[in-house]
């Protein structure tokens, strides 16, 4: 493409401003996490005058962060794992079979993405509370209830992205496997899944992130024992003090795993997104 002479300048100015906008909060998060409490309560300072690693040690005792961390880890991992498994089967059906109801199913599942979460929240809250009393399986305020809820949140997009992925794998490959004597499930396990591993991993990361970051249902469907990070982090604001340095330290620690995973796999996520969107 031929570029006008001003474009390099526009590029640096535009990208510079975008970088500033994006990075400033991240910079503040990182620097506030290493300031002593006194220094975050007064005027703001761009450059920390005193550096203290105490916030990273204290954050575990101000609130039971380890417990919240464990809850988030269990809930998000299990939800991601089940969600991906369920999505792989559904996406395979949609990608490789033509059956009555296929289109209705795809559209129904995808359209649940557009519904406001608040619409499900109240009925789901009632269902979980009443199921608990009716059959003795505690879904309300339990990690199980959260897992079931979260895995369906990522399901529509996971199915959609995987359909795009599977569609890009030539059907000749599965046919070859079927000629070799595998059934359709054999073809899925032996050919389609291995060929779609990057997409499947990307979808798993997406499902994990969705559960890791969810606030609305976590704030209603958990109690002290099942509380996740999304709600737990608000515990640093006590009536007397807001421990901003510890909040930032904790935010940093809970963000690193998901951000790292996302950045490592963003290429595959983009592939999946566009494969689904462009067709």
């Amino acid at each position: 493409m031929r570029e006008p002479r001003w474009l390099p300048w526009a590029r640096w100015v535009g990208l510079g401003l975008l970088t500033l906008f994006t990075v400033t909060p991240l910079y503040v998060m990182a620097t506030t996490a290493i300031k002593p409490l006194q220094d975050v309560q007064g005027d703001f300072n761009w450059i920390p005058t005193r550096i203290s690693l105490a916030p990273f040690a204290d954050m575990w005792s101000t609130v039971p962060l380890a417990k919240y961390f464990g809850n988030s880890l269990v809930v998000s991992s299990v939800a991601a794992l089940i969600s991906v498994t369920v999505a792989v089967f559904a996406a395979y059906a949609i990608s490789r079979f033509r059956f009555p109801g296929r289109r209705v199913f795809s559209i129904t599942v995808l359209s649940t993405q557009m519904f406001p979460g608040i619409l499900f929240l109240l009925p789901l809250f009632m269902i979980y509370v009443n199921l608990g009393t009716a059959i003795g399986v505690e879904l309300y305020a339990s990690r199980l209830g959260l897992i079931i809820t979260y895995l369906t949140f990522s399901l529509p997009f996971s199915i959609w992205m995987l359909v795009g992925y599977f569609d890009s794998i030539p059907t000749a490959l599965d046919e070859a496997a079927q000629v070799d004597g595998s059934g359709p499930i054999g073809a899925l396990l032996r050919v389609v899944i291995p060929a779609a591993i990057p997409g499947i991993v990307a979808v798993a990361i997406y499902a994990f992130m969705t559960a890791w970051g969810e606030v609305l249902f976590a704030s209603v469907m958990t109690d002290e024992n099942s509380r996740t990070l999304a709600v737990g982090l608000q515990g640093y604001a006590t009536e007397n003090d807001v421990y901003w340095n510890q909040i930032m330290a904790a935010s940093l620690v809970v963000s690193v795993p998901v951000v790292a995973g996302f950045l490592l796999l963003q290429r595959y996520l983009v592939q999946g997104l566009t494969a689904g969107a462009v067709k």
Partner: protein, 336 residues
């Protein structure tokens, strides 16, 4: 909508038709009694069954129940035994849309605030996204690093990013006032950003910060799918950079934009996390977004009937907007 794969002449049809292919030995052992043809017919349904059951449990059944709840006088006395709640007819709806009642007036106000918030946020997020994506075209040093950096706000858990913003926006110890008041001297008095009128600006800025990377990501992927020979051909025809942007890039991005703008709109409109983490349980009046509003009015008063009626109205509105949007954008697409 976006799922328009049925017409594709894929191998799937062939496979479905080739029902009589020899089954694997393992398959025969497990399902020996079922005729092969029937098994092939049932297989896709078996494959989608888990997804279907989960969607039913968490989305579709609750939605139906939610619609039912909106016709009940479901106050806190009936929460554990809600079949005993008296039928309320349309009264929950009547209260919600009656702008003369306090409930209806505040709901309507929240609705207007949310529309303004959504339109501004989506427009800005899209603009930043397309600017970033277009400026990132070509190759230059540091491109990969920059691209990763831009995606961080989207990858960050909502509460971590938004809670950082609420620190930035603190009146006395925050960065925003430090820059605007102490360094640039734009205001005589330190403004409040998390209460009062300014809270609207704050929630827009934070949302744009969170959502523009998503627009950037999708648009960048869309740009990569535009064949480079189109640029070469138009360059031969004498088109400059600006002309290419207008005549090649933007028209070819239209299918991507159609989905992107809709998704951004729905996500922003329904966003609960950003205002909830930014302001806490009580949102300021000027940033009283609808999700938080319904949440508050449901859990503060424990009147789930009225909360459900508001949610149903919200859903109807979103369905209407989506339908109109798809009709308009699809028609324009086929005209072009």
């Amino acid at each position: 909508m976006v799922v328009s794969t049925t017409s594709r002449p894929g191998g799937g049809r062939e496979q479905g038709a080739r029902g009589g292919a020899p089954p694997s030995a393992g398959g025969r052992r497990r399902n020996g009694l079922l005729p092969v043809r029937l098994r092939r017919l049932g297989l896709p349904y078996l494959l989608i069954l888990p997804a279907l059951l989960l969607e039913l449990l968490v989305h579709l059944v609750p939605m139906v129940i939610g619609i039912g709840m909106s016709f009940l006088q479901l106050t806190q006395f009936f929460l554990r035994n809600w079949s005993a709640a008296p039928f309320a007819g349309l009264s929950n709806y009547r209260v919600a849309v009656d702008v003369n009642s306090a409930v209806g007036r505040s709901l309507f106000h929240s609705f207007l605030v949310t529309i303004a918030f959504t339109l501004i946020t989506v427009a800005l997020a899209w603009l930043l996204g397309i600017a970033g994506a277009v400026l990132m075209q070509g190759s230059f040093r540091g491109r990969g690093v920059l691209r990763a950096l831009f995606l961080v706000p989207y990858a960050l858990p909502v509460y971590a990013g938004v809670i950082t913003w609420s620190f930035l926006l603190q009146r006395d110890s925050g960065l925003v006032n430090h820059v605007l008041v102490d360094q640039l001297h734009l205001f005589g008095e330190r403004p409040f950003w998390l209460i009062g009128e300014n809270s609207f600006i704050s929630v827009v800025v934070v949302s744009v910060w969170r959502w523009w990377p998503f627009a950037f990501l999708v648009l960048m992927a869309g740009l990569q799918n535009i064949p480079s020979d189109l640029y070469e051909a138009s360059a031969i025809d004498g088109a400059g950079w600006g002309r290419q942007l207008r005549s090649v890039t933007l028209p070819l991005l239209r299918p991507v934009n159609q989905v992107l703008v809709l998704v951004l709109f729905l996500w922003t409109f329904n966003d609960f996390n950003t205002p909830y983490v930014l302001f806490g349980k009580t949102a300021p009046r000027d940033a009283d977004l609808i999700s938080v509003h319904i949440y508050q009015s449901s859990f503060v008063t424990w009147n789930f009937g009225s909360g459900s009626a508001m949610s149903v109205l919200l859903l109807l509105f979103l369905l209407l907007v989506t339908a109109v949007y798809l009709v308009i954008t699809s028609r324009r697409r086929s005209d072009a």
